[in-house]
């Protein structure tokens, strides 16, 4: 099948390409940019005039809920939502039921995703068995079954000795470890950032130190072990500075942030709206400014959705009794585009944080429009406005604080491997 994407503004940070051009796709691959390949006959022409054409987005943290929690979302529903959000690669969390700690579960998730065929799904494996921080999970076997990274999620490994061994073992096999840093004793029973709003609302706070202590411990052990390491969904300004200092010392660590932490603060929790119950929690204006600054300087290389779809019941309770997390796949791109509107970063740099940067962090070949690479492509209208509503979201999770708001920037076509997986 030959596809021509015609007349769009093509942005590919890997090639420093940003100009109006036609994009040619043959046999699932990108075959030319600009000039038509000899004898090219399109079977389909996509009119991209007035639109942006970029590599398909890569989301570093998505919770698919399947297997185990299909009342909240399924691989089919959530990968369809990803396609509608222009995301072609999803890195998914291991906290399914059963957990991604055996090759069978890792393969099951990838097989189901391949069957429905809306997006590439790359599992993260559990770093320790049962995520309980005691015994190593079979990292090498899981990596052979397609796991691209390993995490213990927000269950920190209590024993620093065990953590060090996990990192040494991962380093042995050159595996990527992703930290979602949180000290559980300090975060215990907390449901929001510990500050004036939590004081006023009488909600248990999660102090900044719950994140920074764990970031600090992990950084020291990364330095000690030489493991490939990445920090996911940082929420504190001080964490950004610690990662920055480590990078300045030459440590090859990377970090990402969830888009909501670049836009919202803990003050949103006023009124006890459970849609703002997130983990890590929304933090102060100072933290938000620090995260935004980290994005500008490159200390934070990537933006993710931290997508956590829920059934309605999960959010229908007094704030602390609700489950944390928001549905974010379909708002990742438009919310990120607001950073360009706010003149924080330029559009090509934003595209980089959503495509090439996460690919580089993972060490995978994706997030590019180079000739010969798989045709994973997102075509979006940066000016189209749409209302976030239960009807407009394809995700099974309607739990977003942006419900009812009008966002700017809408995906019109998504291709994966040269196949149209979404078209508005």
């Amino acid at each position: 099948m030959n596809i021509l994407i015609q007349g769009g503004r093509v942005i590919d940070p890997t090639q420093h390409w940003d100009e109006l051009a036609d994009l040619y796709i043959q046999d699932g691959e990108i075959s030319a940019l600009g000039e038509a390949p000899a004898g090219f006959q399109p079977d389909e022409v996509i009119d991209a005039s007035g639109q942006i054409v970029c590599p398909g987005l890569i989301d570093l943290c998505t919770n698919l809920r399947e297997p185990g929690y299909t009342r909240k979302g399924t691989i089919a529903s959530e990968t369809a939502a990803a396609a509608a959000g222009g995301i072609t690669t999803l890195v998914v969390t291991p906290d399914t039921q059963p957990l991604v700690e055996t090759a069978a579960v890792a393969e099951l998730i990838q097989d189901r995703a391949a069957d429905v065929g809306f997006a590439r799904v790359l599992p993260m494996g559990a770093l320790t068995r049962n995520l309980d921080g005691e015994q190593l999970a079979p990292l090498h076997g899981l990596a052979s079954s397609g796991c691209v990274a390993f995490t213990n999620m927000r269950n920190p490994i209590a024993s620093s000795q065990t953590l060090m061994r996990c990192l040494e073992y991962a380093a042995t096999h050159d595996l990527l470890v992703i930290f979602q840093a949180q000290d559980n004793a300090l975060a215990a029973n907390g449901c929001m950032h510990d500050d004036t709003t939590s004081t006023r609302l009488g909600l248990n706070g999660i102090p900044e130190a719950a994140e920074t202590i764990e970031v600090s411990r992990c950084l020291l052990l990364v330095e000690e072990t030489g493991v490939r390491a990445h920090f996911g969904q940082l929420s504190c300004e001080r964490s950004v500075r610690m990662v920055e200092a480590a990078r300045e010392r030459g440590l090859d660590v990377t970090a990402d942030v969830a888009i909501q932490h670049l836009l919202l603060t803990d003050e949103s929790v006023n009124g006890f709206n459970a849609a703002y119950h997130l983990q890590p929690p929304l933090r102060s204006q100072l933290d938000r400014a620090g995260l935004r600054q980290g994005l500008v300087t490159g200390t934070i290389a990537a933006i993710c959705s931290d997508h956590q779809p829920h059934d309605p019941i999960a959010k229908q309770a007094p704030f602390a009794a609700t489950e944390p997390g928001m549905s974010g796949l379909e708002t990742l791109l438009p919310l990120s585009l607001s950073l360009v509107e706010q003149q924080l970063i330029e559009l090509p740099q934003l595209i980089e944080t959503l495509t090439a940067a996460p690919a580089r962090i993972l060490g995978i070949e994706a997030g590019t429009l180079e000739i010969g690479s798989p045709a994973d492509i997102c075509v979006f209208d940066p000016n189209a406005e749409w209302e976030v509503s239960e009807d407009s979201l394809r995700s099974a999770g309607k739990n977003t604080p942006f419900l009812g708001q009008t966002l700017k920037g809408r995906v019109n076509v998504t291709l994966m491997d040269g196949r149209i997986v979404f078209r508005r």
Binding site: D195, R200, G271, Y276, P318, A320
Partner: protein, 335 residues
Amino acid sequence: MFEANDPNSIQLTADGQLRHFLTTEGLPRELLTEILDTADSFVDMSQQQVKKVPLLRGKTVANLFFENSTRTLSTFELAAKRLSADVLNLNINTSSTKKGETLKDTLMTLEAMHSDMFVVRHSDSGAAHFIAQHVTPNVAVINAGDGRHAHPTQAMLDMLTIRRHKGDFAPLKVAIVGDILHSRVARSQIHALRTLGADEIRVIAPKTLLPRHIEALGVKVYTEMARGLRDVDVIMMLRLQKERMQSALLPSESEFYKLYGLNRDKLAYAKPDAVVMHPGPINRGVEIESEVADGPRSLILDQVTNGIAVRMAVLSKAMSGQLSQRSESGQEEQA
């Protein structure tokens, strides 16, 4: 961009009447003063032979207590009965309602009984807001204590007690002493005192029992009684729960009593005419010495009496706000 709405607007009708009473925060001074004025008239009435008025005749008040309480529940019950309402008391075991769906189901069941007002106590902060957001528009919600967030009727009965003894709030220095961290009473008192214009609000506690950033609520923070009580007109003590010793917040009750317990010596730091209050039930020898609790400057029993009057005032005000809301939205009021 992306900012949330004013969270406390839910308490008022479009024309500024009280519709739900969830927190003292964000309510206008005139409204708090009106509640106190109305309560004053009910205090006088309770000294008469006939203690009932027909303001809530034909209305049903459901007391939904998801957390145990005898004092608050009985004063709300008495307040509703003195207003001639039908009263339904429900002690709902929290362990069976841990999940939100059950709470919502409970609400729907109670709505089906056509209650006009829910008086709610719950161990989760924000529970009263949640209920107010999820009940049918025909039900007014009164917060009788939610987690650590708010206990607005307690704060208002404290304000009434202060006003009846001191008159004007403007010159007053008020100290709140004890477990501020876990106290919904303290939070509601602080908001009410600020709105009513008290000169100075102080909190006195060890740092382990102070929320961080409490000064953002407009209070001065003290960690010792000698300095914190100096020149104070009103001392509001808080109850200390025994479980605070188990989580490394305090070493022992006796050390707490030595440092923060209100005895005659510490009372001498305050103004000679300073009054002493406590929301009860009191722990003698933990927060307060018996001689002070039972002494001439203690207003603890006045607080109980005023509690009924304040709750009558709040119930009747919320009911009339509720009724005007109903007639605004075109629903027939059936007496």
